[in-house]
């Protein structure tokens, strides 16, 4: 019921992605905090490609027409979640950057005054 070739492709793809993620964390190119969502997602992909029955089960349970519809929806949703979490992180970073710039400005002003005295 599920093409074997496709299954193998998906499994290989997930393992490759997982390996890439872990390798980037190892080299300190990716912080675990931000990579965790990706790891979770790739792990889910791996499990579903090993046991495709899971996707078929939920397709029926939620009343989707075909499993592909269900998988696409899931893919788009998780992409949206990751994008949203990125927006939140960027907002945090923007706040921190503003605070740091202001602090540096104040410090520069202070140092200039000290130099003049």
């Amino acid at each position: 019921m599920f093409p074997f070739k496709l299954q193998i492709t998906l499994i290989v793809l997930s393992i490759l992605l997982l390996f890439l993620l872990i390798n980037m964390i190892k080299k300190y190119e990716l912080q675990l905090r931000y990579a965790l969502l990706w790891i979770f997602l790739v792990f889910l992909m791996l499990i579903v490609s090993i046991f495709p029955g899971i996707a078929f089960y939920f397709t029926q349970a939620f009343g989707f027409e075909t499993p592909s519809n269900f998988v696409f929806l899931l893919g788009i949703l998780s992409a949206l979640i990751i994008i949203f979490s990125l927006t939140v992180s960027i907002s945090n970073l923007a706040n921190k950057l503003r605070q740091i710039s202001q602090e540096v400005g104040l410090l520069k002003n202070e140092i200039e005054k000290m130099k003049k005295n």
Binding site: I22, Q31, L32, R33, I39, Q99, I100, Q102, E103
Partner: protein, 236 residues
């Protein structure tokens, strides 16, 4: 024996109810160590109280979390050429009278890193049930991966020598740093030892690890430790 410069690093976040007492307690040991308080952008009067007590404070312009705050302390220790750095929590859990015992293995040159543990003598506050499960779990995980016995890997009462000050100034984990940093040290071949200490129950403020976050904490730190164990040696 050569005179060693010792620095106490005290990370603080919203500790206005504890900080005064801690500073007073530490002042009794001012001949043994200098202290630096890292105020991690507290929203309360922590910084103000420290200035009133006339102690050395670094006010961070934005909140970095415990890892970033502690690393600031190590950067300071490196810049000022301290020989030994001691980490002391700002919440008053750690009794300063144990500092000399904590640093003694480093002074004698028997170890590079010493962890204050409440479980060796089983005296004082022993932590709550669910926390203990986590501590035992990380202790087992670290023993499996490093073959070193650390009974309290989450302890923030720790001391290190100059080599590790330099190492931590460059590499220090961000979020829940204690267990992960032990892995990183052991991977790089540093000698780790444990010293029995008594801990007190925190008298105010909140622990940085709350119940609903503990699951995330366990997963994250586990992945961090396992990935770190596959990293190569960074020094020597």
């Amino acid at each position: 024996m050569k005179y060693l410069k010792v620095l106490g690093i005290i990370p603080c976040y919203n500790e206005e109810s504890n900080i005064k007492q801690l500073i007073n307690e530490l002042s009794a040991y001012s001949d043994q160590l200098d202290i630096i308080i890292i105020n991690d952008c507290s929203k309360d009067k922590t910084s103000q109280l420290c200035k009133e007590e006339n102690v050395n404070v670094i006010d961070l312009p934005c909140n970095l979390g415990i890892g970033g705050a502690v690393q600031t302390g190590y950067l300071y220790a490196k810049a000022k050429a301290y020989d030994i750095a001691v980490q002391i929590d700002g919440d008053g859990q750690h009794d300063p009278s144990y500092i000399s015992e904590l640093i003694s293995p480093l002074v004698k040159g028997e170890a590079d890193f010493s962890i204050g543990t409440r479980f060796l003598k089983r005296e004082g506050f022993q932590s709550s049930g669910i926390r203990r499960v986590g501590i035992v779990y990380f202790s087992m995980l670290l023993r499996m991966l490093t073959k070193t016995q650390v009974s309290d890997p989450t302890s923030g009462f720790r001391a290190c020598n100059k080599k590790i000050i330099n190492f931590f100034a460059e590499n220090y984990p961000t979020d829940y740093p204690e267990p992960e940093s032990i892995m990183a040290l052991s991977r790089n071949g540093y000698r780790i030892t444990e010293v029995p200490v008594k801990m007190r129950e925190r008298n105010g403020g909140k622990s940085s690890i709350r119940a609903f976050k503990s699951f995330y904490y366990m997963i994250k730190v586990t992945i961090a430790i396992v990935i770190d164990s596959t990293r190569k040696k960074q020094i020597n």
